[in-house]
C-alpha cells in the first residue's frame, strides 16, 4: 500500500520550504536512515531521512520547487510488509552544538503526522498540525500595509524582514569600518535564524565574529568595545538568553553616558528575536519590551515590517546611544515592501499610522501590529473605522502620536504580545490618563497575552496569546457597541 511522504516541519516556525534536491529516484529501494532529499527551510538546509524501508514509487514534487507547504505529499512509497510505516524524520546536517531548544534543532514529527503516514488518510489540516498560538499571530501579518510615509511613485522591493535586517547591517558595515557583528553562530553558521547570512563572506571573520556560548561575556565585551570607540552589533540568538547579559545592557551600556557626565558613550546595538515564537514554551517565549523600555539611557526599538526593520536598524547602528533592537522570529520570513532608496534610514522615536480611522485607535508594536490590522479589517466590516498606530520605538515613546490619535478618535485599545502587568500597554494607559483624560470617551482597554508563563500545548498556547477576535471585542467594548 502506497503511503505519502510529506513535507516535514524542520523548525518550530517553518510553514513552507524549498525541496532543494532529491537524493533518490523513483524505483529506488530505501531503508531507515537513508537520506531522501535536501530541504531548505527558512533557517538552514536540512536532510530528510527515511524512517522505514520501502521503495519510492512516485515523486510528487520535483526538486527545485519553492514554497512547498509543510504537510504536502512530496513522494509516494511502497512499504515492505504489513507493519511498514514509512515516514521521515528530519536530521540536522549541521554539526554545531546548539543550546537546548535553540533554532537549528529539528522539531520532532507530531503524533498526528505519524498517524497520517500510517493510515495514509488525509486528516483535516488543523488536525495534522494543531493550530498554534503563533499561527494566529502570523495569519495577521499577511494583511500588511506599506509604509504610508513613502511618497507615491517610489519603487519598492518585496523582501523578508530577515533580508531587510541583513541588508541594514551590510549597508552600515560598508559605510563604517567600526561596525562589526558579534554573537553565537553569526558567521560560519550564517546566523541561527539566517539574519546574518552572507555577512561573513563579504566582511570576513574580523568583522563577523562567532562567539562561544557566553552571553554575559560577549555583551560585556561588546559594551567595552563600544566604550573604546567601535560600533558593535551584538546578536543574541534570542532575547531570552540576554537575561544572562542584562547586567551589561543596563548597568554598563545604558548608564555610562550619564555616569560619566556625557564623557563616555556606549554606541552599541543589542539585537535578536524577542517575544513568543512557536511551541517553544515558557523559557524561550517572552517579550522583553517592557523590561528594557523602563530603563533610562536605552533606546528600545521593536519594528513590525521589513521597511521599518531596515530603516530603524540602520538608524540604531548610527546612533550614539545604546539600542535594544527587538525583532520577532515569527515575522522574519514574512515579505513586505521596502522602498528602494539609496539610504533608507527612519527616525527613532516616531510612531507610524498604519491605518487611518476615525472611530477608535488601536495602538500596538511588533507582531501585535499585524493582529491589530486584522482586527481593524474585521471592524471595518462592522461599521467601525479603526486607526492603527505602530509605536515602532518603545523608548523614547512617541506620546504625541498616541495623544493626537486619541484626540481624534476619543477611544483606545492597546494590543501587546506580552504580559499585561507593568507593560507597554500599562504605560500607554497611564499616558492617556495623565495627558489625554479630557479626550477619553471610554476607558482605555488592552488586549495582552495571558498573565502566565507561555505553555507548550498548542491549545493552551493559543489561549495565552493575543488574537484578532479579542481585539475586535475590546474595540467594540470601548465603542459601546
Amino acid at each position: 500500500m502506497a503511503v505519502e511522504l510529506k513535507m516535514p516541519a524542520l523548525s518550530p516556525t517553518m510553514e513552507e520550504g524549498t525541496l532543494a534536491k532529491w537524493l533518490v529516484k523513483e524505483g529506488d529501494a530505501v531503508k531507515s536512515g537513508d537520506i531522501l532529499a535536501e530541504i531548505e527551510t527558512d533557517k538552514a538546509t536540512m536532510e530528510y531521512e527515511a524512517v522505514d524501508e520501502g521503495t519510492i514509487s512516485k515523486i510528487l514534487v520535483a526538486e527545485g520547487t519553492d514554497g512547498v507547504k509543510v504537510g504536502t505529499a512530496i513522494a509516494l512509497m511502497n512499504g515492505e510488509g504489513e507493519s511498514a510505516a514509512p515516514g521521515a524524520a528530519p536530521a540536522d546536517t549541521t554539526e554545531a552544538a546548539s543550546p537546548a531548544g535553540a533554532p537549528g534543532e529539528a522539531a520532532p514529527p507530531t503524533p498526528s503526522d505519524q498517524q497520517t503516514q500510517v493510515t495514509g488518510v488525509e486528516l483535516p489540516k488543523q488536525q495534522q498540525q494543531p493550530e498554534s498560538g503563533a499561527q494566529q499571530l502570523t495569519a495577521a501579518a499577511a494583511q500588511t500595509r506599506t509604509d504610508p510615509q513613502v511618497p507615491a511613485g517610489t519603487a519598492t522591493q518585496n523582501v523578508t524582514v530577515r533580508e531587510a535586517l541583513r541588508d541594514a547591517m551590510a549597508e552600515e558595515m560598508r559605510r563604517d569600518e567600526r561596525v562589526f557583528v558579534m554573537g553565537e553562530e553569526v558567521a560560519q553558521y550564517q546566523g541561527a535564524y539566517k539574519v546574518t547570512q552572507g555577512l561573513l563572506d563579504e566582511f570576513g571573520p574580523k568583522r563577523v565574529v562567532d562567539t562561544p556560548i557566553t552571553e554575559y561575556g560577549f555583551a560585556g565585551l561588546g559594551s567595552g568595545a563600544a566604550m573604546g570607540g567601535l560600533r558593535p552589533i551584538i546578536e543574541f540568538m534570542t532575547f531570552n538568553f540576554a537575561m544572562q547579559a542584562i547586567d551589561h545592557i543596563i548597568n554598563s551600556a545604558a548608564k555610562t553616558n550619564y555616569m560619566s557626565g556625557g564623557q563616555m558613550r556606549c554606541p552599541i546595538v543589542f539585537r535578536g528575536p524577542n517575544g513568543a515564537a512557536s511551541r517553544v514554551a515558557a523559557q524561550h517565549s517572552q517579550n522583553y519590551g517592557p523590561w528594557y523600555a523602563s530603563v533610562p539611557g536605552l533606546v528600545v526599538i521593536a519594528p513590525y515590517d521589513a521597511a521599518d526593520a531596515k530603516g530603524l536598524l540602520k538608524a540604531a547602528i548610527r546612533s550614539e546611544d545604546p539600542v535594544v533592537f527587538l525583532e520577532n522570529e515569527l515575522l522574519y520570513g514574512h515579505h513586505f515592501d521596502v522602498p528602494q532608496v539609496d539610504d533608507w534610514v527612519l527616525p527613532i522615536g516616531k510612531a507610524r499610522v498604519m491605518r487611518e480611522g476615525k472611530d477608535v485607535t488601536i495602538v500596538s508594536y511588533s507582531i501585535g501590529v499585524g493582529v491589530a490590522l486584522e482586527a481593524a479589517e474585521t471592524l471595518a466590516g462592522q461599521g467601525i473605522d479603526a486607526e492603527v498606530i505602530d509605536l515602532r520605538t518603545l523608548r523614547p515613546l512617541d506620546r504625541q502620536a498616541v495623544l493626537t490619535s486619541l484626540a481624534k478618535t476619543n477611544r483606545m485599545v492597546v494590543v501587546e504580545e506580552g504580559w499585561p502587568t507593568c507593560s507597554i500597554s500599562s504605560e500607554i494607559m497611564a499616558i492617556c490618563m495623565e495627558e489625554g483624560f479630557d479626550d477619553l470617551d471610554a476607558p482605555v482597554m488592552r488586549v495582552t497575552d495571558a498573565d502566565v508563563p507561555l505553555p507548550y500545548a498548542a491549545n493552551l498556547e493559543k489561549l495565552a496569546l493575543i488574537k484578532a477576535d479579542d481585539v475586535v471585542q475590546a474595540t467594540k467594548a470601548v465603542c459601546y457597541r
Binding site: 562589526f180 574580523k206 562567539t211 562561544p212 557566553t214 554575559y216 561575556g217 560577549f218 555583551a219 560585556g220 565585551l221 561588546g222 559594551s223 567595552g224 568595545a225 563600544a226 566604550m227 573604546g228 570607540g229 567601535l230 558593535p232 547586567d247 551589561h248 548597568n251 554598563s252 555610562t256 553616558n257 550619564y258 555616569m259 560619566s260 557626565g261 556625557g262 564623557q263 563616555m264 558613550r265 554606541p267 533610562p296 539611557g297 533606546v299 546612533s319 550614539e320 546611544d321 527616525p347 527613532i348 522615536g349 516616531k350 520605538t393 523614547p396
Partner: protein, 350 residues
C-alpha cells in the same frame, strides 16, 4: 582507595610546561629619579585617600567610598609601565588610586567625590563611576567583575583598530569568583587579545577572606584551564610590580594573548568607609603597615640611594599641598545645576 592514597602521598613530579610561559619577572632596576617619581605618586594616592576619608567623616563625601590605602604600589608599578593615550585602563569601584596613577588631575577627582559640577563626571557618577576617555581610563565600574568583560572589549578594540594598545584590567580577589571573568578569559585567549588581567589580591572580598571564598587561592593560576599564564607578584613592592608589568606587557604586545598578574597586596582601611573591618585582627593590619608598607619601603630604598631625609620631607610637603588644594577645590566648587538632572541620559535627541 589505598592505591590512590599511596599515589597521592608520593612526592609531586614537577610539571613539564606544555606551552610557552612568560619569564620569571625581574625586579625593576629604577634610577633614583624614577624611584622618586614612583614614591611621589604613591604618596599622592596615600595622602589623597586619607583626605578623602576625612571629607567622608565630615559628610562632604557620601555613599560608598572605597579607599586604596596600602595598595599604592600596584597602581603605580603597573601604570608607570603603560603609555597614556595608547593603552587603556579599566577598574572596579576602588578607582581613585588608579586614576591618580594615570596622571588625572586630583582636583576633578576629589570634586567628583564631593558631588560637584566640576567633578570629572559632573558630579553625576561619584566615587565608583569616574572616567577619562582622554587618558584612556575607562572607569570606575560599580558592579563587581563587570570591568573584566568590558576591559576584554577594550582589548578587542585595540586589536580591531590595530592601534598597538594594551588594556590593563584590574579586579580583586572577590571579583575573581564571578562567572563573567571566565567567559572573558576564554574569549581573550581564543582571540589572543592584548590584555593584562591584574588581580589585586588584598585578601578580603569585602569581609570574606580568600580562605573562605576561593577554592584556588592562588589567583595567578586561575587562567590555567584557558591556557592563560599567570605570575604572582609582591604587590607591596613597587619595583617588583613594575618589573612584572614589563614582562606582562611584553608578552601581550608580542601577540601572545592575555596574561594574568596576581598582585599580593593589602588594604589598610575597611572595604568601604562604613566597614568596621572586624573580620581581621588589628595585629594583622599593623604587621602589614610596619613591615611591608610600599611607601616606607620605597623611602628606605631612596635613602639607601643617597636621597636625604629632608628631600623626602620636602616631597611630603609638596604632596600635602596638592591634596589640600584638591580638597579645597572640591569643597568650594558648586553643586551641579538642577538642569543637569536630565542631561546626558541619551547622547542624541529623538
Amino acid at each position: 582507595m589505598a592505591r590512590s592514597a599511596k599515589q597521592a602521598a608520593q612526592p609531586a613530579v614537577p610539571l613539564t610546561p606544555n606551552r610557552e610561559r612568560p619569564q620569571e619577572p625581574k625586579r625593576y632596576e629604577a634610577s633614583k629619579e624614577e624611584l622618586l617619581d614612583f614614591y611621589k605618586q604613591m604618596l599622592l594616592i596615600r595622602r589623597f585617600e586619607e583626605r578623602a576619608g576625612q571629607l567622608y567623616g565630615l559628610g562632604l563625601i557620601g555613599g560608598f567610598c572605597h579607599l586604596y590605602i596600602g595598595q599604592e604600589a600596584v597602581a603605580v608599578g603597573l601604570q608607570s609601565a603603560m603609555t597614556v593615550g595608547k593603552d587603556s585602563v579599566i577598574t572596579g569601584y576602588r578607582d581613585h588610586g588608579h586614576m591618580l596613577a594615570y596622571g588625572i588631575d586630583p582636583e576633578v577627582i576629589m570634586a567628583e567625590l564631593t558631588g560637584r559640577a566640576a567633578g570629572i563626571s559632573k558630579g553625576k557618577g561619584g566615587s565608583m563611576h569616574m572616567f577619562s576617555v582622554e587618558h584612556g581610563f575607562y572607569g570606575g565600574h560599580g558592579i563587581v567583575g563587570a570591568q573584566v568583560s568590558l576591559g576584554t572589549g577594550l582589548a578587542f578594540k585595540h586589536q580591531y583598530s590595530e592601534d598597538g594598545g594594551v588594556c590593563l584590567t584590574y579586579f580583586g580577589d572577590g571579583a575573581a569568583n564571578q562567572g563573567q571573568v571566565y567567559e572573558s578569559f576564554n574569549m581573550a585567549e581564543l582571540w589572543k587579545l592584548p590584555i593584562v588581567y591584574a588581580i589585586e589580591n588584598n585578601h578580603y572580598a569585602m569581609g570574606t577572606s580568600v580562605d573562605r571564598s576561593a577554592s584556588e587561592p592562588d589567583f595567578y593560576k586561575r587562567g590555567e584551564s584557558f591556557r592563560i599564564p599567570g605570575i604572582q607578584v609582591d604587590g607591596m613592592d613597587v619595583l617588583a610590580v613594575r618589573g612584572a608589568a614589563q614582562e606582562a606587557l611584553e608578552w601581550t604586545r608580542s601577540g601572545k594573548g592575555p596574561i594574568i598578574l596576581e598582585l599580593k597586596t593589602y588594604r589598610y582601611r575597611g572595604h568601604s568607609m562604613s566597614d568596621p573591618a572586624k573580620y581581621r585582627t588589628r595585629e594583622e593590619v599593623q604587621s602589614y603597615r610596619e613591615n611591608q608598607d610600599p611607601i616606607d619601603r620605597a623611602g628606605k630604598e631612596l635613602q639607601a640611594m643617597g636621597v636625604a631625609e629632608d628631600e623626602l620631607k620636602a616631597i611630603d610637603k609638596e604632596i600635602k599641598d596638592i591634596v589640600v588644594q584638591a580638597a579645597k577645590f572640591a569643597e568650594d566648587a558648586p553643586e551641579p545645576e538642577a538642569a543637569e538632572l536630565a542631561t546626558d541620559v541619551l547622547v542624541e535627541r529623538y
